[in-house]
Amino acid sequence: MINSLLWLIPLLPLLGFVINGLGRNTFSKNLIGFIGSGVILASFALSVALFFELGASTQKQFIIDLFDWISVGNLHIPLSFLYDPLSSIMLLIITGVGFLIHIYSVGYMNDDAGFGKFFSYLNLFIFFMLILVLGSNYIVMFIGWEGVGLCSYLLIGFWYTNSNYASAAKKAFVMNRIGDLGFLLGVFLIFITFGSVEFSKVFPLAAGMMPGTATITFITLLLFIGACGKSAQLPLFTWLPDAMAGPTPVSALIHAATMVTAGIYMIARSSILFDLAPTTQDVIAIIGTATALIAAIIALTQTDIKKVLAYSTVSQLGYMFLGLGVGAYTGSFFHVLTHAFFKALLFLGAGSVIHAMHHEQDMRHMGGLRSKLKITFATMMIGTIAIAGLPPFSGFFSKDEILAHAYQHNKVLWAIGLFTAFLTAFYMFRMMYLTFFGKYRGTHHAESHIHESPKTMTFPLIVLAVLAAIGGVINIPHVFGGNEWLAHWLSGAGIAQHELGLDHTTEFALMGVSVLAALGATLYAYTKYVKNAHIPIADESKRSLFAKISYNKFYLDEIYDAIIRKPLDAFSTFFYRIIDKKLIDGLVNGLGFTASEGSKGLRLLQSGNVGFYIFMMVFGVVALLLYTYLSIA
């Protein structure tokens, strides 16, 4: 069944894109919603069926060749898919969470004039994301990689008449492209080194290489640059918070649950290469930790509910990279999975709040919504507990697996990770308290309209809340008597596994510390925002230095503007005005002038009339032809 049906999983969303794209102005909203969600549901059903078949099968890797895409000389790039334990889980996340978000969008986008366009874009995104995770080589992966970037561009700029939104879309695309250049150069080097870009050829060859080889270090560093762009790591993360300009379901699906985890997927997929490059791993661990910390600091003072979640996403992605850097590939992937549940949930919950508040996103104007939005509140609370890393919800297990590996690897990284976990719990509960507790602070008019969202929106919240709560069961560590199912499952995909060398006492102690930190943060947030009813100050009031840096995002946008964009624009003007117009063109004109001055003897012919020159040329050709004709005659 895998061999015969796998191709349908990406094809169905593509069909949805085409059908809804063509019928976007003629179909009814119900029909568009039905087609758009239906194709994803069908893909999900297929993904589930194939998942069980893979589980039952002894063969763990299936390669399905579709056709020869680019074939030149010794370079052969087939359009082919790889179905293995790793991609099977990605398919479940993408189509499963994707389906829920499609359902949610039926309610959320109901009043939008671009309803049909929205669903066709969303389907196109799912298609490219599936290509990304199914590609059996780096180039097919790159099709998906850039394709999701395109969809991200289209959906961030969905309300394109707002030029800030359009700029945010462009920024996302360009910053992703910086990473993409790294990715592409890495792939070139892979081909030169291994003579192929197929995973099934590259990894076995790499496995025989010595660790620390310069080539492998270069390859992995270049691939990591690609991951930095797509997965929003330092120094390329600033596009992700701006991407919140897109409709909230987009933030949930693309900018939290799926696309931004593509970098982690790619590195986990290439774990054999990265395991051979300790230098790269150190770089990844440091960048990941720094990103996690900086984004968490920024999130502390944000007042826009979606911005808090955006920085939290950047921070959590940083965690995942920390995990990759210390060799916890399974742990990072585990966190991808649980994060997909709780972050999608939190974004959709925020969307439900925004929907109820008539597009108000500033938490300073919210408050006390607990009683009016019961389902939204309850589900978001579950998501918050999960992300804060409190047991027994899913985030606890995945985060602690990463932190335990970090501890084993380097105590400083662990300490920063732990501190970040403390900050995470604080700003997440701050968000919850400001939104749902205390007194309502918005306008009177808006208050009367506040209502719980329709069922199409609350249903996905409830399902995701269940998953966020229990999602941890798939990889319960041995220390709790679990069997680490996910680790076993992924070992079938050739993902490098590193046993945690800590004794159970240390493991328990580490968990205890992080749970205490999270609880402490929760309590602190409660005291500050509920008991003392503190409300973040208005934009124009004075802030302390620390608050200023945090609130203004470390001035990164301003810095990039000053050191990259402005100089490039200045170069542009300089090249155009001075080098091109004055210097090069001046030389050319000078040459022409000298030539015409120097040929005074031929002045009679040099009439300057180009028409005359051409006449002479045509005359010459005609004369030649006549000459031929006469000589034949």
Partner: protein, 493 residues
């Protein structure tokens, strides 16, 4: 004989069209262009994709001087012939909603130029090649001079003198080769088998290279290009950028590499560096251009720079050079299609709103959703998104430059980032945001405009998803060319 039909059908069309008036001239021109397209499809169906010259015609023409009417088509020529004959009908169709004075002359010149272009792409005799080279220039000169913008006289003078100067160098080179040839003829195979020492090869290289470098253009021989593209009437710009600049690329491949491989070897490094500088330099200039047409003109310099770099990076690698050279083949087609699409979109805008100034536009997507989609697809092709035609060529070209030198490959790779910057900046400022008093009056594409843009979009996606037939077409010829160059180089050393 089929090949004679292919070359001279447009000439016959030019004569007939020049005798007609107004609308009839339009229809006649389109008819002949479509007929030519049919002939090339017919040739394509009879073409076997091996390395042989096919449909060869070889008549003695001026026997005393050893000049023959010798033409033929191999895979490399086939790509450029298809490019020409697909684009000419699209370009003619793109003028259907416009009014040009003296239509009969206008359309006759386009067909006349087509004949010259086809001659260039099929000629196997040095003299004939030169005739075609100039025959393609004359009509485009008149098109630009008579139907261009207000600065057209000055700008055209420069364009004309610059390119003529280049081609005179080439003529000298051809005559020199002729004199060295013991058989005293202009036959390409005789040129290929000449044994010249490396000094001679160096001189010949520069004589040809300057002509080709001006035509493409390669930095720093490019300063005629932005002005000419901006001032020329839209169909003229499309002819220049879509097809005519490929004469330079084709010239390098057919008349430079195999004739003076040693000369190329000695100077390739400089040529690559100039090309790579051109990529970065022109891209950066494109960032701040205020006129959309000029922006696209500079972007074209960047894209052509990559093609040129790919040629010089891979000519001497034998079989390993295939990626670069095949990349050149695909990218010639892709660039032609995409740049014609871009210039047509800008023509649609300026014909309705009388401006191509980026700052005066904005919000067009709201009033013209069909234009927004097609324009976006063309932009995506231009920035080489995987799944579009631009990616296939750019990927292969960048890979070949990277193979030549990793650092140069990385610098050339900046086109991926910079291309996105200037293209999306232009798209945003023109299409997105809110409408203003001017752009609110804009009407969406219709009729022939839709046909042209939809055709271009279909080609962009089809070539990107399934490039195999195109790669297959030129594969054998490219392989043979590379082997030929390699043999000559190893024979020399």
């Amino acid at each position: 004989m089929e090949l004679l039909l292919l070359i001279f059908l447009p000439l016959a069309g030019a004569v007939i069209t020049s005798l007609l008036n107004g609308g009839a001239a339009k229809i006649s021109a389109l008819g002949f262009a479509l007929l030519s397209l049919c002939v090339s499809i017919f040739l394509l169906s009879k073409f076997t994709p091996n390395a042989n010259m096919q449909f060869v015609v070889n008549y003695p023409w001026i026997q005393q001087l050893g000049i023959s009417f010798h033409v033929g088509i191999d895979g490399i020529s086939m790509i450029t012939v298809i490019l020409t004959n697909v684009l000419i009908p699209l370009i003619i169709l793109s003028t259907f909603n416009r009014e040009y004075k003296n239509e009969n002359a206008f359309y006759a010149l386009i067909l006349f130029m087509q004949c010259g272009l086809l001659l260039v792409f099929t000629a196997l005799d040095g003299f004939l090649f030169y005739i075609g080279w100039e025959a393609a220039l004359i009509p485009i000169y008149f098109i630009c001079a008579m139907w261009g913008g207000k600065d057209r006289i000055k700008v055209n003078m420069k364009f004309f003198v610059y390119t003529i100067a280049g081609s005179l160098f080439m003529l000298l080179g051809i005559i020199y080769l002729y004199l060295q040839n013991p058989a005293h003829n202009f036959d390409i195979n005789a040129f290929y088998s000449l044994s010249l020492d490396s000094d001679q090869q160096g001189w010949i290289f520069w004589a040809f290279f300057i002509a080709f470098a001006i035509k493409m253009p390669i930095f720093p021989f490019h300063t005629w290009q932005p002005d000419t593209y901006t001032e020329a009437p839209a169909p003229g710009t499309m002819l220049l950028s879509g097809i005519m600049l490929k004469m330079g690329i084709y010239g390098v491949i057919r008349w430079l590499l195999p004739v003076v491989p040693q000369g190329v070897q000695d100077w390739a490094h400089l040529a690559i560096i100039l090309s790579v500088i051109g990529i970065v330099y022109a891209s950066i200039i494109a960032f701040t251009q205020k006129d959309a047409k000029r922006l696209v003109a500079y972007s074209s310099i960047a894209h052509v720079g990559l093609i040129a770099a790919g040629i010089f990076a891979s000519y001497n690698l034998g079989n390993l050079g295939q990626q670069g050279m095949q990349g050149v083949m695909v990218q010639m087609l892709s660039h032609g299609i995409n740049v014609v699409g871009l210039f047509f979109v800008l023509d649609i805008i300026s014909s309705r709103l009388k401006t191509n100034k980026i700052e005066e536009l904005g919000g067009l997507a709201k009033v013209a959703p069909h234009l927004a989609i097609t324009f976006l697809i063309i932009v995506l092709g231009t920035v080489a998104l995987p799944g579009t035609n631009g990616f296939i060529g750019e990927f292969l070209l960048l890979f070949s430059v990277y193979n030549y030198n990793a650092w140069l490959g990385a610098i050339a790779g900046f086109t991926i980032i910079f291309g996105a910057v200037y293209m999306f900046r232009m798209y945003q400022k023109v299409m997105l945001g809110t409408t203003n008093d001017l752009t609110i009056t804009f009407t969406d594409i219709k009729g022939t405009e839709k046909i042209v843009l939809y055709t271009i979009c279909v080609l962009i996606v089809a070539m990107g998803v399934y490039p195999k037939p195109i790669l297959h077409l030129s594969e054998a010829s490219v392989q043979q060319l590379l082997e030929q160059v390699n043999q000559k180089l190893t024979g020399l050393n």
